[in-house]
């Protein structure tokens, strides 16, 4: 088995952070670079600086440390939080030497802000999820405390993984805000907020919360949404059961540890059997304590699954945005259709449908021809505007579908690759656990045979 477990070894490999306008632009990237640039425009204040810093060929990213800190929050209350040290190294092409270019501290909330920004600015991208804020799906031995060192360590790995995922994404890696997140410690938050993404996010979120029904949903997106729901439910079920499995396995091993003590006590009263019992007891102690490492390794597997649990949410976000877009399009089309009808009614003087307007006409008599002409004119203007809008919405929609689908395809490949790797590393863990088990019991048997 040469396959290295993906965590954390995989993450030590340098992730390429390519500068803007790399030569190998394919369709997908050409299509989305507009979007990326669009995002840039919004934060135009930092444009020139980025150009300069992007002269670096490649950047290695690592989250190398976590540190507990105490500070004051917005309402001036004492709070404790964890800060993570992000180190970036540029890799020079010539000799492959890496030079430390930057290191800075970020806290979880800043990662969250970065991700929210990415979510809003790249609605067609399956944005990599952050590791959990609080430990979920824990078995009893694991602490649910988010200051617990093991948890902090796993989150450190998770945050590093997040940065590497973004850095290796063909579109996200070019984002300026992301770049500044890695390189500019102060004022970063302000820079993000200057992009005005919050406004965009808020209006979209409001719309998302409203119940809306799309008349002609894209079957592919409906299926994808269904898939993300199912994936989320199956992975969370899996994680729940796995935590219980871990709990029970822990119990089985630890209870064996009691043999260690009792064999040792028993050996004190035995003559010929004594030595064998005593040393077998020692092996039982070894057996009992071996479970700690085994389950700690398994936690990495759980984290890998959790990432995909959260990815399911990211996938759904793309679907929802598509739905929203489709809804906008349909509303615009409907609006246009009704205006066209109104215009036709006014022009021909026939009222096809019962309307308030029809009523007023009947009650108060025909309006003057000038008035009617003016109204027709206004309507015609609105219609042509609406047609323009509809056209651009259509183009936007098609563009979105094209880009989103490209990213979803990319995501699917990544998912298949990652999960296969995760399954392999899980199998490897199980194999190593079995080997350890065989070893311990063989040693114990050897002792028993000497009794």
């Amino acid at each position: 088995m040469e396959q290295a477990p993906p965590d954390p070894e995989r993450q030590l490999q340098p992730a390429s952070l390519e500068p803007l306008g790399r030569p190998d632009d394919d369709d997908l990237e050409a299509a989305v670079s507009e979007e990326a640039e669009g995002a840039q425009e919004e934060g135009s204040g930092v444009d020139t600086m980025t150009e300069n810093n992007f002269s670096l060929k490649k950047i290695e990213i690592s989250v190398s440390e976590a540190e507990k800190r105490t500070g004051r929050n917005a309402v001036n209350m004492q709070e404790t939080y964890t800060a993570y040290l992000i180190e970036t190294r540029s890799v020079e092409h010539a000799d492959g030497q890496s030079v430390l270019t930057d290191s800075l501290w970020r806290r979880y909330s800043e990662f969250e802000l970065l991700r929210n920004y990415l979510l809003v600015c790249y609605p067609h991208i399956v944005v990599p999820p952050l590791p959990e804020k609080r430990a979920e799906f824990v078995w009893h031995k694991l602490s649910a405390d988010n200051m617990d060192p093991d948890f902090v360590e796993r989150r450190r790995i998770g945050l590093e993984n997040f940065l590497l995922r973004v850095a290796s994404h063909p579109i996200l890696c070019r984002d300026k805000i992301f770049y500044l997140f890695l390189t500019q410690e102060g004022n970063w938050k302000e820079t993000v907020n200057e992009t005005g993404f919050q406004l965009k996010a808020d209006s979209r979120l409001k719309a998302l919360n409203a119940t809306f029904r799309v008349k002609n949903p894209d079957k592919r997106f409906t299926e994808l949404k269904h898939y993300s729901d199912e994936l989320q439910s199956v992975v969370s079920h899996l994680l729940r059961v796995r935590a219980r499995v871990a709990d029970r396995l822990y119990g089985v091993y630890k209870v064996h540890g009691n043999y260690g003590r009792v064999f040792s006590e028993w050996s004190a009263i035995e003559k010929e059997m004594g030595d064998g019992l005593q040393s077998a007891g020692h092996h039982m102690d070894v057996y009992a304590s071996s479970i700690d490492d085994i389950l700690e390794d398994e936690e990495h597997y759980a984290d890998q699954l959790k990432e995909y649990l959260f990815y399911a949410e990211a996938l759904r976000a793309v679907c929802r945005k598509h739905e929203l877009m489709q809804y906008d399009l349909e509303t615009a089309a409907q609006d246009l259709a009704s205006k066209k009808q109104q215009c036709e009614e006014l022009a021909t003087g026939t009222v096809r449908t019962f309307s308030l307007k029809g009523m007023t006409t009947k009650l108060f008599g025909q309006e003057a021809p000038e008035q009617r002409e003016a109204r027709i004119k206004v309507l015609e203007e609105q219609i042509s505007e609406g047609e323009q809008q509809l056209k651009s919405k259509n183009t936007e929609g098609r563009e979105f579908v094209k880009n989103a689908w490209a990213d979803i395809e990319r995501f699917k490949e990544q998912k298949n690759r990652d999960l296969k790797e995760a399954l392999i590393s899980y199998a490897v863990m199980q194999i190593s656990m079995c080997r350890k088990g065989i070893q311990v019991w063989t040693n114990a048997k050897e002792c028993f045979s000497k009794m």
């Binding site: 199956v234 119990g251 209870v255 028993w266 298949n416 392999i424 065989i438 019991w441 028993f448 045979s449």
Partner: protein, 385 residues
């Protein structure tokens, strides 16, 4: 289910006395410690009997022997638990200086167990078989008249009602010592045995509790595994390329569950009963030890009484001398039995614990095989891309 009249009814027809019985008699010898055995007893073929009054299980007891005490070379009788119980109490009565092997407990404590379930009956059959084998291997107990009757009598009830005026004299001599005397101090040798037994029983009790707890944990682990595996199957139904790997993991967990179930079954059926037997064994041993103390106490009391008479030339009456003989006899028997028991115990535990290790090794080997077998499946797919 077969319905048979109450009591031990011979099931198989015994073959008529063979012509070789004379030869057998010539060969007969008290050769228990040697390689050659001349008495073989097995317990098998449990049957459930349903009567109007009660439902019970009988076991077939097959005896093959070349000993003179047996008229036929082979016997086959059916006995129920209470017959074994009768045998044991008779042995205790008639061989008070000897360690009588324990019977499995009449009822399993925390009695959720179905007395007529296949597993329970099989576990009990093994324990009863072990009980008879221990008696068979014993140089004195195997010659006991009651034992002979138990193995051969067509109708054991007849004997039981008679109250058996057979060989009870050996027992009587000790039986009438019903306490009343208090031993001042146990000789060091026996005090040590007593202390040993106390600790031994204590430790074994702990091991028994640990083993039960492990089985309980393993069963709960099994329950979770049985849910865990199928989740991978459910997942695989959602996936295209990942379907096969996920299905593979699911099957693999299924195989591990099966291996785990075998392990817990083995532990329940083979490991726990032996622990129980030895816990009961130490109780039997303690009760023999107590009887020995009484015999010695009686002797000491009588000796003291003689000394108190302050005769010029204290003549030890024959009765007291007999008493002394009895103590020495008892001590010798007990020591021999203890030694035999220690030997058996060592061998039994070596076997038992090695078995425990073996079962665990086998379990891990099965799981190892299952996990190793899915690696190529996962990798092949990986490279296929």
């Amino acid at each position: 289910d077969l319905i048979l009249p109450n009591g031990g009814t011979p099931a198989g027809t015994s073959s008529p006395a063979s012509s070789s019985s004379l030869l057998n008699r010539l060969q007969l010898d008290d050769d228990i410690d040697g390689e050659t055995r001349d008495l073989f007893v097995t317990v098998d073929d449990p049957k459930k009997h349903v009567c109007t009054m009660e439902t019970y299980i009988t076991y077939r007891i097959t005896t093959k022997s070349t000993r003179a005490e047996f008229d036929l070379p082979e016997y086959s009788v059916r006995r129920r638990y209470q017959d074994f119980d009768w045998l044991r109490s008779k042995l205790e009565e008639s061989q008070p200086t000897h360690l009588i092997p324990p019977l499995p407990e009449k009822f399993v404590v925390k009695g959720v167990v179905d007395r007529f379930s296949e597993e329970f009956v099989e576990t009990r059959r093994k324990a009863l078989d072990k009980f008879l084998k221990r008696i068979t291997d014993h140089p004195v107990l195997s010659f006991n008249e009651h034992f002979n009757v138990f193995l051969t009598a067509k109708d054991l009830n007849a004997y039981r009602k008679q109250g058996i005026a057979l060989l009870t004299r050996v027992g009587e001599s000790v039986k009438h010592v019903t306490g009343g005397y208090k031993l001042r101090s146990r000789p060091l040798e026996f005090a040590a045995i007593g202390e040993y037994l106390d600790t031994f029983a204590l430790k074994l009790g702990t091991i028994d509790r640990i083993a039960q707890r492990i089985i309980k944990e393993e069963i709960e682990y099994l329950v979770e595994l049985r849910e865990y595996g199928p989740v991978y199957s459910t997942w695989s139904a959602l996936e295209g390329e990942l379907a096969e790997p996920l299905e593979g993991v699911s099957a693999c967990i299924g195989n591990c569950s099966t291996a785990l179930e075998e392990l817990t079954d083995d532990m329940t059926e083979d490991f726990l009963p032996v622990l129980r037997e030895y816990i009961l064994y130490s109780d039997s041993m303690k009760s023999v030890l107590k009887k020995r103390d009484q015999v010695q106490a009686e002797y000491e009391a009588k000796l003291e009484a003689v000394a108190l008479r302050k005769e010029d030339r204290p003549k030890v009456p024959a009765e007291v001398e007999k008493c002394q003989d009895r103590v020495e006899c008892f001590n010798a028997d007990l020591k021999a039995d203890m030694e035999r028991w220690q030997n058996n115990k060592r061998q039994d535990f070596r076997q038992l614990l090695m078995g425990l290790a073996d079962k665990n090794i086998q379990y891990y080997e099965k799981c190892l095989m299952a996990w190793e077998s899915i690696i190529p499946l996962l990798q092949e797919k990986q490279e296929g891309k």
